[in-house]
């Protein structure tokens, strides 16, 4: 175990931060954010085997963990009577800022900090986590949306091809026909396109 640094003597402690997250992309986004904010000692742990031993070896001031990680329960053991020098506390212990706790749970991140760490400093880190976690889930939603848009595009193109061949239409005519049908039947173009593909498969 490394020697315990005396934080009270150090006016600008460079915090040791550990990120426990099995999602490497989200962890990287968070790490970037922390580095940009001037926190240079950031360690990512993705693999959760022997988690506690690894955390003790790093001896962090702050531990950030995603709430979907079952290993969160492992961290709870740090609160037990033990031979560990530092006694971390959970963010939740300080209930003065319910809104920020709620926001962190909604975002899906939880923080454990060493007792005695300045609250404002921690709030800064937590706010950063929340915005990065939220940014990540927005990114994921957008990615999903882009993926399904691409899928729809493929379906429409295939249906267009079927129509062009079967009815000897140009591409524009085929698309216009599908759009008109969709409007008449109060459906989406992709639904009409899917019906065309299904029908073509059946009639083949």
């Amino acid at each position: 175990m490394p020697p315990v640094r005396n934080r009270a003597m150090d006016p600008t402690p460079n915090l040791n931060i550990v990120i426990v997250d099995e999602n490497p992309i989200r962890a990287a986004i968070l790490e970037d954010g922390l580095r940009e904010a001037g926190f240079t000692q950031v360690v990512r742990i993705g693999e959760t085997a022997n988690l506690l031993a690894r955390i003790y070896a790093i001896d962090p001031d702050v531990i950030l963990i995603d709430l979907e990680n079952p290993s969160r329960d492992v961290l709870e053991q740090m609160f037990q009577v033990s031979r560990i020098v530092k006694r971390p506390i959970a963010m939740f212990v300080d209930q003065s800022d319910t809104a920020s706790i709620q926001a962190s749970v909604d975002a899906g991140v939880s923080a454990y900090i060493v007792d005695g760490l300045k609250k404002e400093r921690m709030k800064h880190i937590l706010d950063l986590c929340i915005s990065r976690f939220n940014a990540f889930s927005r990114l994921q939603t957008e990615l999903e949306r882009a993926k399904s848009a691409l899928e729809e595009r493929k379906v429409i193109d295939r249906a267009k091809g079927i129509l062009m061949k079967a009815k000897n239409l140009t591409e524009e005519q085929a698309y216009a026909l599908m759009r008109k049908t969709a409007m008449n039947e109060n459906k989406k173009i992709v639904e009409i396109a899917q019906s065309i593909i299904t029908a073509a498969d059946l009639l083949r």
Partner: protein
């Protein structure tokens, strides 16, 4: 209050059965409750989401309900447990190597927990003499029956669980892997993880925890005490739905339907067979296929639903014994008041009925004097 929306958290374990059935058989809907079940991954999340009000109620480790009420290691949020979801249900599984070592050191039949605990003490002493690393045991949470059962058993054999062995917290889904790659030599966990280890040939079920205590509250239906006070009608509706669900689960004729509902991927998500064997108390305990049956292995319904403050007192006694909590009569009273048989009786119109074969002290520990809640400080510390 019709269509009242509730968010209730659960961990995918067999002892969430009554809650899951209460929702999936529409017993909650019949009471005018629109329940959204949320599957959780950790007890820490469960506790925090209950505490800050994201959940109205949860499937919860009984000791966590007490720890939260007493503010142990965390925020102090008083919890009310009007319904007991399960009694017992955990087991101690050891690696084949440790099983052989315990058998080799035993002065009798190791199905007797005193014999096995004393044998384990000899194994531990021998390892120390040889300068080997201490044995490591996996538990699921610091405030868990798993932790207390293991400690109670070891201590009876003369082992100091804090000095002679290592107890580490592992999420239940990682237990089996940790036993396989020798991060732990043993663990205490609920269904289905003991069976999974036995089926893989990497573990022996040494004891059901019902060998150590005949009766111990395992999981409760937990709500914030403030919520219970503000929503008495909703609480009553929820408890009534649970009463019906417990009766449904304990009826053997419904076993297949219960198994199928619980096995669904968005519920417990394991095979119907494993769930039914767990509810039946019929477990394979050795890789050679030996099966052991016990009606005490896990009790759901069958007289287990009425919260018993004696169980709460025993759990608090263990918290004191293992230095998680300081002793005071006020804390003892607060711990006991988490368990609310009065609410249970008032809502379900029931009265306490002694069950045949139950231990007189409500606990039935395998060693030590009968448990007496009035003297937790003494009786929670039997000398073995």
């Amino acid at each position: 209050m019709s269509g009242e929306r509730l968010h209730i958290g659960f961990i995918p374990l067999c002892d969430a059965a009554v809650l899951l059935i209460a929702v999936d058989k529409n017993f909650c809907a019949d009471e005018g409750l629109d329940v959204e079940l949320v599957r959780e991954v950790s007890w820490s999340n469960m506790r925090d989401k209950l505490n800050i009000g994201l959940f109205d109620a949860t499937h919860l480790l009984a000791p966590v309900a007490i720890a939260s009420t007493l503010g142990l290691g965390h925020v102090k949020v008083p919890i009310t447990a009007p319904f007991n979801l399960g009694i017992n249900g955990n087991a101690i599984t050891v690696s084949p190597e440790l099983h052989a070592a315990i058998e080799g050191a035993a002065a009798g039949d190791i199905s007797d927990p005193l014999v096995s605990a004393q044998a384990l003490a000899r194994v531990v002493a021998e390892r120390k003499r040889r300068g080997h690393e201490p044995l490591t045991f996996g538990i699921t949470f610091p405030y868990s029956t798993h932790n207390y059962h293991l400690r109670f058993w070891m201590a009876a054999g003369g082992i100091d669980p804090d000095e002679d062995v290592r107890l580490i917290v592992l999420p239940p889904p990682y237990m089996v892997e940790s036993l396989a790659n020798k991060h732990v030599e043993a663990f205490c966990v609920g269904a289905p993880w003991n069976s999974v280890a036995v089926d893989l040939g990497i573990g022996y079920i040494l004891h059901f925890v019902s060998d150590i205590l005949a009766s111990a509250a395992e999981k409760v239906l937990a709500v914030r005490s403030s919520w219970a006070q503000e929503n008495p009608d909703t609480l009553a509706a929820l408890v009534r739905a649970h009463g019906r669900a417990a009766a449904f689960v304990e009826e053997m004729a419904n076993r297949d339907e219960v198994g199928a509902l619980l096995a669904a991927p968005n519920r417990i998500g394991v095979s119907v067979d494993v769930i039914c064997r767990t509810l039946d108390g019929r477990l394979k305990i050795a890789p050679d296929g030996t099966v052991r049956e016990s009606e005490r292995y896990l009790r759901i319904g069958r007289g287990a639903s009425r919260p018993d403050p004696v169980h709460a007192a025993w759990l608090y006694g263990q918290m004191v014994r293992w230095r998680q909590a300081e002793f005071s009569l006020d804390r003892l009273a607060a711990a006991q008041q988490v368990f609310r048989p009065d609410l249970y009786d008032a809502i379900l119109g029931s009265r306490p009925t002694p069950r045949a074969g139950e231990p007189a002290d409500h606990i039935g520990a395998f060693v030590g004097p009968p448990f007496d809640p009035a003297d937790v400080a003494r009786s929670a510390n039997p000398k073995g």
